[in-house]
Subunit: 120 residues, 2 copies
Amino acid sequence: MHEEMRRAFSLFSGKWKLEVRRLLNQRIYRFVELRKAISDITQHMLTAQLRELENDSLIWRTVFAEPPRVEYETTPKAIVLGPTMAALATWWSEYGKSVPVKPNPRWRKANSIRKGDGTG
Amino acid sequence: MHEEMRRAFSLFSGKWKLEVRRLLNQRIYRFVELRKAISDITQHMLTAQLRELENDSLIWRTVFAEPPRVEYETTPKAIVLGPTMAALATWWSEYGKSVPVKPNPRWRKANSIRKGDGTG
DNA sequence: CGGAATCCATAGTGATACTG
DNA sequence: CAGTATCACTATGGATTCCG
């Protein structure tokens, strides 16, 4: 089961992929539009990240002749991931910066064996 | 919103962090046990990944004198993330290797504007 | 047992220039 | 407009050695 998690994670391991996914989940973008939307990214990196996302079938790439442009859009595969991504963002908002206090080891030992959470 | 996703992702960006999280979400592990459970990891890397997870308050570290050992366990902060991680794994199982077919651009343009999915 | 310190290989990222 | 090609830099991962 953890192998799936690792692979799912790796699909978005690129520095800009999450941002690209978020944008394309809203509407179709042209290459230039993405560059403007992600102001800090270089042309080189944007191309690279888009290629990887495309190879993983997370986005579609369409070339148009007139007017000359390339459009990018999400695939259904990426769309269904939206709620999970939202959950991740919510988790960070709620717990991200929190620092839970460790209880005393002595009385914590008693009930230290937890059940699984479904991921293991 | 995407900043939260990026930060949440970065907490588990280390090569072995997802595996450590999965193990510790089941029970408390000693350092040696983790090394045996994750057979390919080096002592150096295990220490490094554990330190980072600890600094992010995703795991707790407890030193015991007798018998000499160090125990690691998840924090509640990491526990609540379980279902989301499970969702990610499920997503990979269902869609991970799928390659959705891109419909013809011409009639696809008509309804190309989608609503948001909550992430962005 | 559970580290720390050092060194090295590789992958990821980025700046720049050039092209169909 | 949307790339490709180089090169440089940085982060990450890993092998090895030593330590309380």
